[in-house]
Symmetry: C2
């Protein structure tokens, strides 16, 4: 097995694709931005990080509003998800552009995107400046899940949730379940 060595690059895969919604107080509407530079960073209290370039409109919104919602899309709305990553919410109402249905959050100012089967309300806990991006660490305050994606055991059925995976610039669906955490010891 021969290995090719390439210069430093943020090459980790697969990573999530989420729609982060943030309230835009000036325009009195909620904006949405697509983020793949995100992940779970702690369990107690539950925390998620999202990284955004300082030049993005959502960066200003989140710095001012100090809260956001991480909406996890399904592959059904991939085209709209991609679109929210390539246009700016400064002059465009992305909820209108994408025909997203807004639903009120319970703890934060941003609206939930109803079409996303999972919505995670977060309050900004910490901002870490990293260069090209600032990392916003959000503490999870509330979680909403579509009944439609729950299995008979009450847990999320990921085949129904149909998430999108981001691999080096491309969007992929998920395939088959291969095992559960700890299966190697059983």
């Amino acid at each position: 097995m021969v290995k090719l060595t390439i210069p430093p690059k943020e090459i980790l895969y697969p990573v999530p694709v989420v729609l982060v919604s943030i309230f835009d107080r000036k325009n009195k509407r909620t904006n949405a931005i697509t983020i793949a530079w995100c992940g779970i960073v702690a369990s107690i209290p539950p925390q998620i990080s999202i990284s955004i370039r300082p030049s993005r409109y959502s960066h200003k919104l989140i710095t001012r509003e100090k809260s956001f919602v991480v909406n996890v899309p399904s592959a059904d709305i991939l085209k709209k998800t991609d679109l929210c990553g390539v246009v700016s919410g400064k002059d465009i109402d992305k909820f209108k552009l994408c025909s997203f249905t807004s639903a009120p959050a319970s703890k934060v100012s941003a609206s939930l995107i109803r079409e996303c089967p999972v919505n995670i309300e977060c309050k900004l806990k910490k901002t870490v400046k990293l260069g090209s991006h600032d990392m916003f660490i959000g503490e999870v305050l509330a979680v909403h899940i579509d009944n439609d994606i729950l299995g008979p055991d009450g847990a999320i059925d990921y085949a129904k949730a149909n998430p999108v995976v981001f691999n080096g610039g491309g969007y992929w669906s998920i395939g088959d379940k291969l095992g559960s955490y700890g299966f190697s010891k059983k």
Copy 2:
């Protein structure tokens, strides 16, 4: 569409599954730990975060060594990948346990896991204490890719890379390519 509201939980999906290798100076060997609480956090300079509980042996190693390698496994070695997440490297040589082949890194002290098609060498840039986990932010110093997973264009063919996705405690394969970044505007 009715939504179920549940208490705060680190419910984001899909997330990556990686094997992080760190040099164990005392035992003169490299240890490996499975991590799903990880992600890309910045592009320039390229940075990756991994979160580890302070009780884990690898937490001590990384704090001392200040560098690590993020090895991205394929589904072919999922059972070994899971095993590295449920046993401790304090008393066990996980490279031996899993029959991993070690290869020297170019910039850091830890060995690469040769069976992983992508290896990302990182130096520890920052540690952020978050509660249950500490987040280690690593700056990418070098990247190694198996020639076997490259497509005719020289880029990674993710069908060949065959990565593992982690969804709420379960491991899944990837499915089909659905599009590329920016496809909604074309």
